[in-house]
């Protein structure tokens, strides 16, 4: 203890454990912070490198174009939100069963649900697409990816991100306070009341993080949407990709940067919402006890 204080006074002390963070710090600086600055820089430059707000204006205050862009952003939001809701609805009972030792001896079931994540998601998506199409063409004589692209995008997203929803819920369920559930039942609550009043409140942090884990990647992914809609539907990710690699107009990278920032903001806002929510539930818990 004394030695530590002494070191502090000298102003510099080599700390081995802290030094292990250096690679992480360098990595973050090079591949997260620096690119972010580059994106911000590009978002406010014109074709010749001068400062401008024109990129933002051309996207969001340009009649026909901005209508299309807002439409794409809105549609992406709808797809991400419905994916999130469906994922949680499916994942919740699964996580409950997985967390119950009666059904999930040796955790084999958990591995079965996580197994698909060992395979690259593009390959899984293409596999799903072929499977769904052969199914619907036998049943209805049409291919779902071509006939109902939005539905098939959501199915693809749910399929790919379901494990991300199961895992946080499962972790939360493991911590369920059984005595509280039993007490509720003993005190005369019917099963529906037990579920709503004793189980759900305990799992809210799990629900929130499951929502984040599915909402954020669905908001920014585009490969699944491209594959599951035969490239016929645009979501914000495909729009950005198009600006960066398919267009050669002078300011296409700049407009792509603006769109990237907008997407980042949407994700950022939803993370802030999660933080606020977390705090609220903690406070409530505090009050309760």
């Amino acid at each position: 203890m004394e030695e530590a204080i002494g070191r502090k006074k000298r102003g510099f002390a080599f700390n081995f454990r802290a030094s292990l963070c250096i690679p992480f710090g360098v990595f973050m600086a090079l591949f997260v912070v620096l690119p972010l600055f580059i994106i911000v820089y590009y978002a406010f430059r014109d074709g010749d490198g001068g400062f401008t707000f024109q990129n933002w204006a051309s996207l969001f205050a340009d009649g026909e174009n901005s209508k299309v862009n807002w439409g794409i952003i809105g549609m992406t939001f709808v797809i991400a939100a419905s994916t999130t809701i469906i994922c949680i609805l499916i994942a919740y009972p699964i996580a409950y069963l997985l967390a119950n030792k009666k059904y999930n001896k040796n955790k084999v079931l958990v591995y079965i649900f996580l197994l698909p994540m060992w395979i690259n998601f593009v390959i899984r998506t293409i596999g799903l697409k072929e499977l769904l199409n052969s199914l619907t063409s036998v049943l209805f004589d049409w291919d779902i990816t071509s006939e109902h692209p939005y539905i098939s995008i959501v199915i693809g997203m749910v399929y790919d991100y379901l494990p991300f929803a199961i895992l946080p819920l499962y972790n939360q369920m493991l911590k369920l306070d059984k005595s509280q559930i039993e007490a509720a039942a003993d005190l005369g609550a019917n099963p529906a009341q037990v579920f709503m009043k004793a189980i759900v409140p305990q799992t809210i942090p799990g629900i929130v993080s499951a929502a984040m884990m599915t909402f954020m990647p669905t908001m920014s992914s585009y490969v699944i949407a491209d594959k599951m809609s035969e490239n016929s539907k645009f979501i914000i990710g495909s729009l950005i990709q198009g600006y960066f690699i398919k267009r050669t107009d002078d300011v296409s990278s700049n407009i792509g940067s603006v769109l990237s920032l907008v997407m980042l903001m949407i994700v950022g806002v939803s993370m802030l919402a999660q933080k606020a929510f977390d705090k609220k539930t903690e406070e409530r818990k505090g009050n309760l006890w």
Partner: protein, 444 residues
């Protein structure tokens, strides 16, 4: 103390690792030629399983051996690949890739040359000939391609040949299942708007190509009214083909939205395999991809054909260009080497696209592929427009009647069809308007 030592060792080990990695880069080559080409676009000297075919290696190894023998200088070809013109353009423009040779398509050559991004080849505009260093192209280049490239002018009045040496070329049409109903429709671009083709064909997920197809629909009456026998027929058709004024863009937008509602979806490279599997019956395709699909399908017992729509189509070229700052002498040497018909035939044989080079070796290759056996009903096909006097006698080949409308016709359209094929121009100042239109179509 022990920990501390270890900690200091970490960066040292790291630095040593990085050092050894970079040290690997050097070898005894005296000059390096940086080539930036399309994927799967050259003979690499290996078969489908990746085993070497002979000890001479691919085109690159052969060039290295040839150059060392000729000049005594050891050269190393640093070969990289791209898959989209636009990405390549940005990389060269931002200098994130340095290359001595690139292989863009026609409209991109035009754009890059007009923007002053390209070095000139040793080409004489008045005689229409390259210098001695590129004499293989002068000797063996197809007279048809030569004319086409010489007559395409850039903003500075010079021809394409000053900035690009043609490599492969082809057309745009439909790969289709010959046993399906669609065979009755794909001879016209109108099939994309025909309810009989609902969900049976794909559009190209590339604005330039789908735009061109829509033009044939939007201006079908005007195109039908053109006099095909007039000498300026192709010029007039090309002018319509490349229209991109605001009124045209909005007509094309409406047409593409309609076609999208009728189509199975968009694709850009998965289609050439999906058509074989039977996901759809017709695939809007480039001729080289069509040849690939037909070959794969044949092994599976599926009969695919290639249709070049009767209204006309696009004829495209990819050419070798030198970005500013390229090693001109070395680059010309390489282009001359691959313009040798013997080498061109190797690449054409393995790639499936049609070489811009004519000459005996290429002629032998297509005879080996398509010449009908004795005794079967065959059509006499005249390819003298393409081969000119680079082969002995008249370039006429007899092709099995059953095989018409397939590989041969995809690789070598008839002179009649060629008259209706137009070269794409860069959209110029309308680029943004067209791209925004494409966003609206994709978002619809």
């Amino acid at each position: 103390m022990k920990n501390k030592k270890l900690a200091w060792a970490l960066p040292i080990v790291g630095a040593a690792l990085v050092g050894s990695l970079t040290a690997c880069g050097g070898d005894d080559a005296e000059v390096v030629l940086n080539v930036y080409n399309w994927e799967d676009y050259i003979y690499e000297g290996v078969d489908d399983d990746g085993n070497p075919i002979d000890d001479k290696g691919g085109v690159l190894e052969r060039f290295e051996a040839y150059y060392e023998e000729k000049t005594g200088t050891k050269v190393k070809v640093d070969y990289k690949c791209f898959s989209v013109n636009e990405i390549m353009y940005k990389q060269i423009k931002d200098k994130t890739i340095t290359a001595d040779l690139i292989c863009p398509s026609d409209y991109m050559i035009q754009k890059m040359a007009n923007e002053g991004m390209l070095e000139e080849f040793s080409y004489n505009e008045t005689t229409g000939k390259y210098a001695e260093s590129l004499n293989n192209w002068d000797k063996y280049g197809s007279p048809y391609i030569k004319d086409k490239f010489a007559s395409e002018k850039l903003n500075n009045g010079k021809s394409f040949l000053s900035y690009a040496v043609p490599y492969f070329w082809g057309t745009m049409g439909f790969t289709y299942n010959m046993d399906k109903d669609c065979a009755n429709y794909v001879n016209s671009w109108e099939c994309m708007w025909d309810s009989a083709m609902k969900s049976k064909f794909t559009l190209k997920d590339s604005v330039r190509d789908s735009y061109a197809a829509a033009i044939f629909h939007v201006y079908k009456d005007e195109i039908a009214a053109l006099d095909e026998s007039a000498s300026d027929y192709n010029d007039k058709l090309t002018a319509i083909f490349n229209r991109c004024d605001d009124a045209t863009i909005s007509k094309v937008e409406a047409a593409l939205k309609e076609a999208k509602a009728n189509a199975y979806g968009f694709e850009v490279d998965e289609g050439k395999d999906a058509i074989v599997r039977g996901t759809y019956d017709a695939n809007f395709a480039w001729s080289g991809d069509a040849v690939y699909s037909m070959e794969v399908a044949e092994e599976l017992g599926v009969t695919l054909g290639y249709s070049l729509p009767e209204e006309g189509s696009n004829i495209w070229f990819d050419g070798w260009c030198m970005p500013k700052g390229a090693n001109k002498e070395l680059a010309e040497e390489f282009v001359n080497f691959i313009s040798n018909p013997e080498i061109a035939a190797l690449s054409m044989d393995s790639v499936g696209y049609t070489s811009s080079i004519a000459g005996e070796d290429i002629w032998d290759l297509i005879n080996e592929w398509y010449s009908a056996e004795d005794g079967v009903a065959a059509d006499e096909c005249d390819l003298s427009y393409f081969f000119g006097d680079t082969v002995e006698g008249k370039a006429v080949i007899s092709v099995d009647k059953e095989e018409r409308g397939r590989g041969f016709d995809a690789q070598y359209p008839s002179e009649e069809q060629i008259k209706k094929c137009c070269v794409m121009k860069d959209f110029g100042t309308q680029t943004t308007a067209v791209n925004d239109m494409w966003n609206r179509v994709k978002a619809a």
